[in-house]
């Protein structure tokens, strides 16, 4: 048996019965990394020694009461892990070793998770293909000539290639869901505020959210249970009770009302993707849910408002990289200003500079009202579309991305084309809603993702629908041949 192929709940069962040890499981994952990493390149850092050490400790203690105990996890490289390099796939943080854990890292450690390594991403989470990594591009395990999506492409690829049991990613405009869709895995962006952002390197603070990438919906619920909840250190985390999400793992969508927004199936959506989403709708109908066409009229504006708001917040957040307190400092400089400028110019990649420039422009004197204020008003309209829909519907279903995974290099020359690949996911971040991507079909051997969007803080219903769909279909059972 290839232990690295197990899900969390399968591994947990075997660990609890002492049929396998955490060391065996961890070694199986490390062996898999050795075997396929040259092709996939999902990891920036593999923390082999400490992972083995941790798994030994868990085995010795023998306490497998936590469902994550002794199970290897891969963490996106913009989530701080104490004493383990966290680079954001940027030259400017190439040597950064955090002196503290992000709240999610701390929570996973408290559950005795085994951190196997840090995954590749688009630099500072800015991108949709993981090609913007300052170090190397990650490949899609289903077709290594294609991108894994982004920005959590390393996490999605590592899960799809069984180079970990599960992973964490972050999602600002689709960065968990779009790569999950491209790699045929499950990816959940929780409601904004559900999971603490403390220790997540900030990109766009009003949109960023951490979430799980897993092999099935059950695992997704297990990980969310572990990481969700209020945190004093993140003032935007919600002080609300967290339900036990495993209670949502029931096969029942009877009487559920689902909306299918026509704007998500329009121009630019590949016919195979549209067909897969429509058949997913039929699956739900057969299981007793009702699906009706709805309209979210401000959908197309959401994308452009996002590309003002996110860069504006980024330009402010990334001002901290100045070569003084951490990160890489430029070598020769004349004075302090020259030090700042040289450090930032050498340290940031092209897309990061582009977004800093765009954001600085949108916030600069004379343009603030025309761009930033306008975008925030459009955000209100985007959110109002969803509010109206959720008065009548329990869930909204849509494609996660308009196409399956594209080829490496296909969109790197045209940022606008790259931005379009997030058109189905961005509105959800703008409204702060929870949404999952689960496999729902294939086009030419490449996975297609179904996006299920829920009401604020109603991950439970999202998970229930996703679980029901997963059990009723077999898209989840296919694995890439690497």
């Amino acid at each position: 048996m290839d232990l690295n192929r197990l899900t969390i709940h399968e591994a947990h069962e075997l660990l609890s019965k002492r049929e396998i040890s955490s060391v065996e499981l961890t070694k199986a994952v490390l062996h898999r990394i050795e075997e396929v990493e040259e092709k996939v390149r999902a990891y920036l850092t593999v923390d082999e020694d400490r992972a083995i050490e941790m798994s030994k400790k868990v085995d010795e203690e023998g306490d497998f009461s936590s469902p994550l105990s002794g199970i290897p996890v891969a963490i996106k490289d913009n989530i701080c892990t104490r004493d383990l390099k966290t680079t954001c796939a940027s030259r400017i943080l190439a040597n950064f070793v955090p002196p503290y854990d992000a709240t999610v890292s701390e929570r996973l450690k408290a559950k005795k998770a085994v951190i196997i390594g840090k995954t590749n991403m688009d630099e500072f989470a800015m991108g949709s293909s993981t090609e913007n990594s300052a170090f190397f591009a990650t490949r899609n395990p289903w077709d290594v000539d294609r991108v894994p999506g982004g920005s959590s492409g390393g996490s999605a690829a590592a899960v799809a290639a069984d180079e970990c049991i599960y992973a964490l990613g972050s999602d600002t405009g689709g960065s968990i869901r779009q790569p999950a869709s491209y790699c045929g895995v499950v990816g959940l962006k929780p409601t904004y505020g559900r999971v603490s952002r403390y220790g997540l390197v900030a990109y766009a603070s009003s949109l960023d959210q951490i979430g799980p990438l897993t092999k099935d919906v059950t695992d997704c619920a297990l990980v969310l249970n572990a990481i969700a909840g209020w945190d004093e250190r993140d003032s935007t985390s919600a002080n609300l009770p967290v339900p036990d999400f495993t209670k949502s793992l029931v096969e029942d969508v009877k009487g559920m009302k689902m909306g299918l927004p026509k704007e998500y199936l329009g121009e630019g959506v590949e016919p195979e993707v549209k067909e897969a989403i429509l058949s997913a709708a039929r699956v739900f109908e057969k299981l007793g849910a009702s699906v009706e066409e709805i309209s979210l009229p401000h959908t197309e504006y959401a994308l452009w408002a996002y590309y003002i708001i996110a860069p504006a917040e980024a330009s402010s957040n990334l001002a901290r990289y100045d070569g003084i307190r951490y990160g890489v400092r430029a070598k020769d400089y004349e004075d302090l200003l020259d030090l700042y400028k040289k450090t930032r110019s050498e340290g940031f990649g092209r897309e990061v500079k582009r977004r800093i420039m765009l954001g600085t422009y949108a916030l600069s004197s004379g343009y603030y009202d025309a761009y930033y204020l306008k975008a925030m008003k459009v955000r209100t309209l985007v959110k109002a579309d969803f509010d109206r829909a959720f008065e009548k519907y329990d869930l909204i279903i849509a494609p996660t991305a308009p196409t399956p995974a594209f080829k490496l290099g296909e969109k790197t020359g045209d940022p606008l084309k790259m931005y379009m690949s997030d058109v189905c996911t961005i509105p959800v971040n703008m409204a702060g809603l929870p949404a999952i991507s689960i496999p729902c079909g294939f086009s030419g051997g490449l996975p297609i993702g179904l996006q299920i969007i829920g009401k604020p803080f109603d991950e439970a219903t999202v998970l229930r629908a996703a679980y029901t769909f997963e059990r009723a279909t077999d898209f989840n059972s296919r694995k890439p041949a690497l």
Binding site: N95, R325, R354, M376, V378, T380, K383
Partner: protein
């Protein structure tokens, strides 16, 4: 919206970036075309629409101001590119 090289230089200075001539030209082009798309937003009348900066209706989250242990100085300085006697080291900014 057409962005010219002078605007690019002005914004680059605000953002504390040096750009090569080639980067400036590329930046002027892409920013212009991105901002052209942004102009689509003007199709919407938002006169009476309030802005949403944040999705959660939160204002000034306070906590008690209590003294707590912070990270040890050595830990904090571990990542500093240059340090001296327990401080971050920066170039001189005050003339003699």
């Amino acid at each position: 919206m057409k962005i010219n090289i002078e605007t690019v230089e002005h914004v680059a200075n605000l953002a504390r970036l040096y750009l090569s001539e080639e980067e400036k030209a590329e930046m002027a082009n892409t920013l212009s075309s991105i901002l052209d798309y942004m102009d689509k937003l003007n199709e919407l009348d938002t006169t009476d629409v309030p802005p949403t900066a944040h999705i959660i209706p939160l204002k000034n989250v306070f906590r008690e101001d209590v003294v707590k242990e912070s990270l040890p100085r050595e830990e904090v300085l571990k990542n500093a590119p240059e340090k001296e006697r327990g401080f971050f080291k920066v170039p001189r900014i005050i003339e003699d």
